[in-house]
């Protein structure tokens, strides 16, 4: 049982014109077994929230706190956060030339588990996870995300989530760029992880489509750097119908 507590989180980025405030007091608590959908207009700060929790160096925390099971996440290095059980499926996964997927996955699993996975079981584990995400085994020998299509990159993110078994996963627009079949396959992957691992999920999305597969327990509306409304799954349908007008003009 884990809890991620985001309290009054304030984050800025440095721009040519100086610091620009993006997050203006985010409060959100995610517990194992829960799925929280975050929906909000472009530029409202959803990815900023995700990256700040993961520890991207571009963002400056100007206030608030993030605790994982009571431990201050913001004090940890990026790799320590991952070891503590946080995972971010990125909106734009990064290409790493020269590093093969299999080497990358093994190195990551070794780091997170604290010991190298046993060769025999590991190979099977990776194969099985790839097969269930409909990924060609050939991807294992390709360089990380290099030349992957948008949808392939997203599947690769979920593959990592399955293998690294985080306590709390943040999925930043994992559904964008997926075709209908891929959306179903990736959603099934997420649901499999939800069932087999006691995981809490923050699901950032623009579309209700994915929420038909991955049922959210809570839906949060994100606008101008904070959560402006909360509700159940029905809130997503309302957003789809009416858009964000009432939140952004406020």
């Amino acid at each position: 049982m884990s809890t991620l507590e985001i309290k009054n989180l304030q984050v800025a980025v440095s721009t040519d014109e100086g610091m620009k405030q993006i997050l203006r007091g985010v409060d959100l608590t995610i517990k194992s077994g829960e799925t929280h959908a975050i929906m909000g207009p472009n530029g409202s700060g959803k990815s900023t929230l995700a990256y700040s929790i993961a520890g991207h160096p571009k963002y400056t925390i100007t206030g608030g706190s993030v605790l994982l099971d009571g431990v201050d996440v913001l004090e940890m290095r990026v790799d320590e956060r991952a070891k503590a059980g946080l995972f971010l499926a990125m909106q734009y996964p990064v290409e790493v030339p020269g590093v093969s997927v299999s080497n990358f996955l093994r190195t990551a699993a070794t780091a997170i588990r604290g010991e190298a996975p046993k060769v025999r079981t590991w190979v099977g584990e990776v194969k099985e996870a790839m097969a269930s995400l409909n990924m060609d085994p050939a991807f294992a020998e390709r360089n990380v995300n290099e030349g992957f299509s948008g949808g392939e990159k997203k599947r690769h993110e979920i593959l990592q989530m399955e293998l690294l078994k985080p306590k709390i996963a943040i999925l930043d627009e994992t559904d964008s760029g997926l075709d209908v079949d891929a959306l179903r396959i990736v959603s099934e992957g997420v649901n499999r992880v939800k069932q087999t691992q006691d995981i809490g999920i923050m699901l950032i999305t623009h579309y209700t489509r994915i929420l038909r597969y991955i049922k959210p327990d809570y839906v949060h509306v994100f606008a101008a750097g904070r959560i402006v409304e909360e509700g159940g799954a029905e809130l997503a349908d309302k957003l789809e119908e009416k858009g964000y007008a009432e939140y952004v003009t406020a």
Partner: protein, 366 residues
């Protein structure tokens, strides 16, 4: 113009100074007189093979019986030709396909400046891989001349794994015949000062050259590579790909890629790229691709050069998966160099080179 100055008839022997374009980056004071006409250089055949290989004749011949084919030269090559009395000759018989790599090991004796000449003659339609292994401490000026007859293929590898006091000036010149293929891989990790000139010219259409290299300079090292491709005839191809990394105070690399497409070189196809990774402050990489084109009737000609720091996004991505920063860096560097090293098809050397790079990385970041 740096390109034409590497061509013959332009140089009268003299002691170069740092005011000259070709020498302005090289710390001449570290050369122990290799470049200085007043300093006597010993002639010694310092390369040799440990094993005989069927289809290959290795001999030592008088310099007067080994005339130079190269039309590309520099001041130190001129000295090597003048001073070297004996030449190591490696002849691969026509049609011989030598599957086993031929290893040539350097013997070292002292730090007294010396010269060495080697000649590699590839018979028509022959194939071979020749690996020069430079280890130890030396003050060396050398020339390796390679002549590839019609349809032959030579994979030439020069490994500079010198001790930290070695000084090495080298000229590797290939004359590539009709439909012949020359693959050169230069790997420079050791040495106090290494300045290599991999140069090629062509003697028949359909000839192809692939010049690859990696270098890794740490504190106080000067590693310089000056590539010169002379598209002196038409319908020849060249690819140049060099990658370097630098770490530590006063780590210094210089890379020049001169590609010269002469007026008669129609149908030329060339591309060159140099990428440098700066791993710390205080290191300096110069990278100068240089394309001189005298005819528009070509297939393609391009160049690229980048010098940058670690990609923070790559590091963040790896770290966000639990991989500690130092291992993330290692992974990226390994990948950066592996592109070239893995093409050697020599797994033992690949492992040795990568291990040395990782070892130096660790030392540099400690």
């Amino acid at each position: 113009m740096s390109i034409t100055s590497l061509n013959s008839n332009l140089l009268a022997p003299h002691t170069p100074t740092s005011r000259e374009e070709l020498w302005r980056f090289t710390p001449l004071a570290k050369l122990r007189g290799l470049h200085d006409l007043d300093v006597k250089l010993t002639s010694r055949v310092s390369l040799g093979n440990s094993k005989t290989v069927a289809g290959v004749v290795i001999s030592i011949v008088d310099a007067k019986d080994a005339p130079i084919d190269s039309k590309t030269e520099d001041l130190v090559s001129l000295r090597v030709r003048e001073m070297a009395s004996k030449v190591l000759r490696i002849e691969v018989a026509a049609n011989a396909e030598i599957s086993e790599p031929i290893f040539l090991a350097r013997t070292v004796e002292s730090l007294d400046p010396e010269v060495s000449r080697t000649e590699i003659l590839m018979g028509a339609n022959s194939r071979a891989t020749i690996v020069v292994e430079n280890v130890g401490s030396i003050t060396l000026a050398e020339e390796i001349e390679m002549v590839l007859d019609t349809g032959s293929q030579l994979n030439f590898v020069s490994l500079q794994e010198w001790e930290s006091d070695a000084v090495h000036l080298g000229h590797h010149h290939a004359v590539i015949g009709k439909d012949a293929t020359f693959n050169s891989t230069v790997i420079t990790l050791g040495g106090s000062l290494v300045r290599l000139l991999p140069t090629v010219e062509y003697s028949g259409a359909g000839a192809s050259a692939e010049l690859s290299g990696i270098y890794f300079a740490t504190s106080g090292q000067h590693l310089e590579h000056r590539i010169h491709v002379d598209h002196n005839i038409g319908y020849a191809k060249s690819r140049v790909n060099y990658k370097g990394a630098l770490s530590g105070d006063k780590a210094r690399t210089v890379w020049f890629g001169d590609v010269y497409i002469r007026a008669n070189a129609e149908g030329t196809d060339t591309y060159e790229v140099n990428r440098n990774l700066l791993l710390s402050d205080g290191a300096r990489a110069d990278s100068v691709p240089n394309l001189e084109i005298e005819t528009g009737e070509i297939v393609g000609a391009g160049h690229a050069s980048t010098t940058g720091r670690f990609d923070d996004e790559q590091l963040f991505y790896l770290q966000s998966r639990g991989i500690p920063a130092n291992i993330a860096r290692q992974l990226v560097i390994r990948g950066f160099f592996l592109e070239i090293v893995s093409k050697l098809g020599l797994p033992e050397i690949e492992e040795r080179i990568m291990a040395r790079i990782e070892n130096e990385l660790e030392k540099a970041s400690a």
